[in-house]
């Protein structure tokens, strides 16, 4: 019935509360991309020669590539010469200093975002690396982590302080030639986080990076590298927001995870980049390459993502299961509202024997949102007894939105077992009316149903963040029914 569908659609109108900008003096490279800009970035960061060469090689390769056309997303062509590739708050472009020297305006910004960096009111039990536009402004709890031998710092700092580790692992999971955006990132990446957890250490607290895009017409290209040495364990969370701007902004990150024997990395994302306004104007293009390699036996990598922001999301966090008995997991909630588009999923590549992977994807489409799950499960010849279980569910709110599923399965070993389940459901008028008849408002009803639907994924998140994610989803769905 059209009258009632309209009421459901009204529920999907959202207020983005992180849309403010910070007025701060910055230093930036001129817009445009060429070898000089790359040299400038590298010089600003006082990088060793090998890294500059690495960047230039990636750049030269990138110039031969074309942006992928296969994702089910639509947007005008991006002019890469129009983007600024390096912006840093003044006095920060040399890289992070102690938190005491950080501009109070920056600290205030993070405070407003709910991420206090200062000693006295830091998040309990969570170490944070805060990245503002192109650089890291500070990392908390460094000393406490250092006592355990855990390295947690900005990428730039890692290049200076731990060059051997960086050189050994950088690009080893996502090579610069991997794809268009990965090549671009490899050429111009500015900062990001670096984590190394030594043998046998269980990281004593959650690690997290908070990414903030502030400047206009800039791209954010961060690089994250996490290495869990034998028998170690770490849980990592990233969060992201950006101001509301009418222009689209590009975010093309690369994340590489490596687990050695018996190690485990749990990587959680709560992505809340500015999604654009209700008419689809503005918002972040989130074109990200995330991949983990279970190098060692019995190792485990688990991705959990809650994607509520961005105008367009293009990401497939995957796991290469090399070590025998290794485990890959992907738990995802992706919400598209208004005119947002998402093409997201995972890749599970089974090399080792007895490797196992689990995929749970929960897509939610509201308004005019378009949501695609795209996943690859590949079992190679040597992967005897490999197992995969995939479950891809779509939930529709209203009847202007769309959900699509593209599962790709390639199995080269006959002892492998791959299971795929999919479902599509719709929040029906009769369900909303039933809730209303029980005194519950339509908005609360939608939130209740959506939360129930996402439960399996939320329970993978660290407790505090599960609550955050729930709230975020509720905000993102505000206005989706009347």
């Amino acid at each position: 019935m059209s009258t009632s569908t309209e009421t459901i659609e009204k529920l999907v109108k959202q207020e983005y509360k992180y849309g403010f900008t910070t007025e701060i003096e910055t230093e930036s490279a001129p817009p445009g991309l060429n070898e000089d800009v790359i040299r400038l970035i590298s010089r600003k960061k006082k990088e060793p020669e090998w890294l500059l060469e690495w960047r230039l090689k990636a750049y030269r390769h990138w110039t031969t590539l074309q942006a992928p056309q296969w994702p089910k997303v639509h947007y005008p062509e991006i002019d890469y010469q129009d983007i600024t590739y390096f912006v840093a708050p003044k006095n920060m472009s040399d890289g992070p200093k102690s938190l005491d020297e950080v501009d109070p305006k920056l600290l205030e910004t993070y405070e407003k975002l709910g991420i206090p960096l200062h000693e006295r009111n830091r998040l309990l039990g969570v170490a944070v690396d805060a990245v503002f536009d192109s650089v890291s402004v500070g990392t908390t709890f460094k000393k406490q982590l250092g006592e355990k031998g855990v390295i947690f710092c900005s990428f730039s700092e890692a290049v200076q302080e731990h060059p051997a580790l960086v050189r050994k692992y950088l690009g080893s999971v996502v090579p610069p030639t991997d794809n268009f955006y990965a090549a671009l990132n490899s050429a111009v990446f500015t900062d990001g986080s670096f984590v190394y957890v030594p043998k046998g250490v269980r990281c004593p607290m959650e690690l997290s990076t908070y990414f903030r895009i502030n400047a206009e017409n800039t791209g954010q290209f961060e690089r994250t590298l996490i290495i869990a040495d034998e028998g170690s364990h770490v849980s990592y969370l990233e969060g992201c927001t950006a101001p509301m701007r009418d222009e689209n902004q590009l975010h093309a990150a690369v994340v590489e995870l490596i687990t050695l024997d018996n190690a485990e990395i749990k990587y959680s994302t709560v992505q809340n980049w500015y999604p654009g306004d209700e008419n689809g104007k503005g918002g972040i293009y989130n074109f990200v390459t995330k991949r983990g390699a279970c190098r060692g036996v019995n190792s485990k990598i688990s991705w959990t993502q809650v994607e509520t922001g961005s105008a367009i999301t293009w990401k497939y966090p995957g796991v290469i299961l090399q070590g025998d008995n290794s485990i890959g997991e992907f738990y995802s909630v992706a919400l598209t509202n208004n005119y947002q588009q998402a093409d997201t999923g995972t890749k599970m590549i089974h090399f080792g024997k007895n490797t196992r992977s689990t995929i749970v994807s929960k897509g939610i489409s509201a308004g005019h949102g378009q949501n695609s799950y795209r996943g690859l499960v590949k079992v190679l010849k040597g992967a005897a007894n490999a197992r995969n279980f995939s479950q891809c569910d779509s939930l529709l709110i209203g009847d202007q939105c769309g959900a699509h599923t593209f599962p790709y399965i390639e199995v080269k070993n006959t002892s492998a077992r791959v299971e795929h389940e999919a479902s599509t459901s719709k929040i029906g008028e009769d369900q909303i009316f039933y809730c209303k008849q029980r005194a519950i408002s339509a908005q609360d009803a939608v939130n209740m149903i959506v939360n129930g639907y996402c439960k399996e994924v939320f329970k993978q998140l660290p407790m505090e963040f599960a609550v955050e994610a729930q709230k975020l989803l509720a905000v993102s769905l505000e206005g989706s029914v009347g």
């Binding site: 009632s4 369900q431 009316f433 008849q437 005194a439 519950i440 149903i449 129930g452 639907y453």
Partner: protein, 256 residues
């Protein structure tokens, strides 16, 4: 006389291009139990839906006063918070939403509306367990998602269980008896009787006199083609059972 809980005056309504209710008059006072009977398609569920505030009907005439308020002006959730409860003919499944959580949300909405403090999870559980006894519902009703995978009869029983928790001022039971086995029917009917109070009222829609042996109505109304064509005491149900609608309606049509 006390203020009626519900006063329907000359209510006409329909869907696009079709009149379903053609001038309904009905007054329900505190402490009363009314039964509405009528053949398939006569408009019983439509009446219940309109009272509960479902979208999609055109109200073409008349008015409905509920506890002194213009009912048709209120949103469905406001009606519910004011104590109007509908036990659905076809209860809806809500996968993924835990029944306890759902009921607690509903219950606390009503308490908030009345200016009472909300119950926390523990307090609510204690309260709800006590209510469960009235209807003899199994524990796992609370643990499962709302109506999800429930059998037809279980769903009906769950409706009355919700009614027991929410303690409505006016409960409308739309064919709650259909789909229930004999034992369940007795349990549900006895439950409904226990929930009866001098300050609330029940409107029971049914096809079968059998239910009315357990829930004894003060008034029985026959709804036929969108009109209440006859009203009487509980003996009218027996007469209906005996003679069928055609005869009763035919007689009604002839002026006495």
């Amino acid at each position: 006389m006390t203020q009626p809980i519900l006063a329907i005056q000359n209510l006409s309504a329909g869907v696009e291009g079709r009149q379903i209710l053609k001038g309904i008059n009905l007054v329900i006072r505190p402490g009363e139990v009314h039964a509405v009977m009528g053949p398939n398609g006569s408009g019983k569920s439509t009446l219940a839906s309109i009272l509960a505030g479902r979208d999609g009907y055109n109200i073409t005439g008349g008015e409905v006063i509920y506890c002194g308020k213009d009912l048709l002006e209120l949103d469905p959730e406001e009606r519910a918070r004011e104590g109007l409860f509908l036990a659905f003919q076809y209860p809806v499944e809500i996968p993924g939403v835990n029944s306890t959580y759902f009921l607690k949300a509903a219950y606390n909405e009503i308490r908030r509306h009345r200016g009472q403090p909300e119950l926390d999870a523990m307090e609510f559980l204690t309260f709800v367990k006590e209510r469960m006894k009235i209807l003899n519902v199994p524990e796992d009703f609370l643990k499962r998602p709302v109506n999800h995978g429930f059998s037809g009869g279980e769903k009906k029983r769950n409706e009355i269980f919700q009614m027991a928790v929410l303690e409505p001022k006016l409960a409308i039971l739309d064919e709650t008896d259909s789909g229930l086995d004999i034992d369940a029917l007795k349990i549900v009917a006895l439950g409904v009787n226990k929930l009866k109070r001098p300050d609330n009222a029940q409107l029971v829609i049914t096809h079968y006199q059998r239910l009315l042996n357990f829930i004894v109505p003060d008034f029985v109304h026959v709804l036929y083609d969108g009109r209440i064509v006859r009203s009487g005491g509980k003996e009218l149900a027996l007469e209906l059972e005996e003679k069928g609608y055609e005869l009763i309606v035919h007689r009604a049509a002839v002026p006495a």
